[in-house]
Amino acid sequence: MRANLTVNRTTQFQVLSEDQCEAIYHNILEVMQRTGVDVHHEGARQMLKEAGAQVDGVRVYVPPYLVKEAISQVPDNFIVHHWDGSGVLRLRRNEVYPGTGPSMPNYIDPYTEERRHFLREDSANVARVCDALENILFVEGLGSISDTTRELADLYEFVELITNTAKPIAAWSFDRQSCEDIYRVAAAMAGGEEEFQRKPNFMFYMEPIPPLVSNEETVDKVLFCAEKHIPAIYTPCCMGGGTEPATFAGLLTNAAAESFTGLVIAQLQRKGAPFIMGGVMTVMDMLTSTYIYGGPELSTMCAGITDLGKYLDIPVFSTGGCTDAKVTEPQAALENAISNYTAVLSGGNIIHDTGYSESGLTGNLFNVVMNNEILGMAFRIARGVEVNEDSMALDVIEEIGPQGHYLLHEHTNRYFRTDTWEPEMLNRMPYEEWKNAGGKTLGQKVKEKTRHLIENHQGPSVPESARREIEKILEQAEERVARERAKKGGK
């Protein structure tokens, strides 16, 4: 019997201590009460007022008890389902799910490698490739579709994504109307609204605006999500030195206050509404004004907000796998690796933005495929060192002794596959063999694998009834837009 044993079941990684989390938490409460937040939504302001907040114009001063109440009501643990029942995401402390990022205007064409606008068929390809990658566990579309009815780009994207992979989608939309249409599509895939309520199959992404503003459309969406029990990701895009304090702790304070505005509204709308705080935190590049996606600041602060979320037991939307590099080159590999590695180790729940390139302006499917390999390494490191009687292998060491080898031992055979991570594309061949096999770099292999998956991987098969239902939803949406356009008299 070994008494008082402490075990690191996995690798430990922490940016903020409990005391630091507590200090920041108290400051968030102070900001929300003393500085206040702007809520550009009359209905939500009314709700907040009735619940005890002080309202002055659009400014809302939120008393700490409202925030604490919301934190006590938000589920610390909920499930998002694959629509075909093939898997689940368990949103709870330290359960890590990496995935792609949303809605960039440009895309690197996987064949010509030109930077061009994003098309509807790209959404389908992104979803199918993500479907095939074992470490990409939820999907965002990587681009905004440019070749459908402009007002319905969000809806078409969701349709392409959800019909080409069963992995949960994190959706976005222009407004509440599209959000409702997307929900109808998701319900059709679930087999009806009731089934969706039991097994929600997507999450919804929305952004408040730093510093400390929640705009009308965003609040509309979070209210709708709360009503329909859709997990809401309420996440600001923070830019230290620009729209937020330049210091990490100051930025985290404001960012959380922005998220918590949505949290309080969601819980007032419906107690226990599933909610994920976020999310993307970085600094402004003071030479170019670029929103830096590949810097160490992003990883440090995303790990910080994750610690805060864990401290308060609220699921966290984190960021990794992104880069400022324009194409798939060493800068992309380096930034993708460090950011995904840090996000995984810190234990963020929904780690988005794999495939984000050019500082959030270009979707890059090659980088998604490369990140799949990076995530494999990160997961292995996160697993840490298993220390038990068998893994310490005292008897085996005694048996082999000095000068022997372990290659033929049964213990090696039992463990080498599970304890060793096997890369798919990283090269470890001797020089001559590598040269004779074509001398391919990682970049070349990534491109080949991407094209292979686009051409060969089939997603799940979609039930005919769901397809028909979706066609109907799209038709109705097109009719609605045509009517609205006619009313405006414009194009």
Partner: protein, 214 residues
């Protein structure tokens, strides 16, 4: 020598020093026009050059622009009217309807002001009609539109259409910027120029005004 000190105050972004030196210069009998040309504008020229060469950061440049504004407040009443006309042109700026993102537009405004433009900032979340109204009222050379989001970028098109409907499209040059805007978007939506950064926006405005004056 004091003119040089004023230029240095601009470069250092030291408002107090800038105001003090400007007052001293006036008391010593330096003409306001000299102070403007050889102090203020000379300093800003160095700032612009250094920023372009990545030797100064954005907050420092904005600090310099702030010194310029404060010193101009002292000089303006003392300048002969024609000399006081320091404006390089007028730019109407706004973030389009549905978009509440402020900082990109503000950065452009600050850079333009730093370069001597009169900037009429109509604010965030502005419908197309507000742009039209501002153009009627201010008679600017340039209209700048900002949109950060995929969801709001199409509103830029509405501004262009509204300017056409009001018969104002040919009286102004238009430029657009923001994270999701690019050259192709501007081409497709009839926007004259795309500004990938605040500095670029400033240069576009300078070129537009030069064209108009030619």
């Amino acid at each position: 020598m004091s003119l040089k000190r004023l230029a240095n105050a601009m470069i250092e972004g030291d408002v107090e020093k800038g105001k003090e030196v400007a007052q001293d210069l006036l008391e010593e009998g330096t003409t306001p026009k000299e102070i403007l040309d050889d102090g203020v504008l000379a300093g800003m020229e160095v700032v612009g050059e250094r920023f372009k060469n990545f030797e100064m950061y954005i907050p420092e440049v904005l600090g310099s622009a702030q010194v310029m504004h404060e010193v101009m407040d002292i000089l303006r009443p003392k300048l002969v009217s024609s000399e006081g006309e320091t404006s390089k042109g007028t730019v109407v700026l706004g973030t389009v309807e549905g978009d509440m993102h402020d900082i990109g537009k503000n950065l452009v405004a600050l850079m333009l002001e730093g370069a001597g433009f009169k900037v009429v900032d109509i604010g965030i979340d502005q419908p197309a009609q507000s742009f039209v109204d501002a153009v009627k009222k201010e008679n600017p050379e340039v209209v700048g539109m900002s949109a950060l989001l995929t969801t709001t970028a199409p509103k830029i098109f509405e501004v262009i259409e509204a300017l056409k409907d009001a018969g104002l499209r040919d009286s102004v040059k238009t430029m657009a910027g923001g994270a999701v805007i690019d050259q192709a978007f501007c081409d497709e939506n009839g926007v004259d120029a795309y500004g990938p950064s605040a500095t670029a926006a400033m240069e576009i405005a300078q070129n537009f005004v030069a064209e108009v004056k030619r």
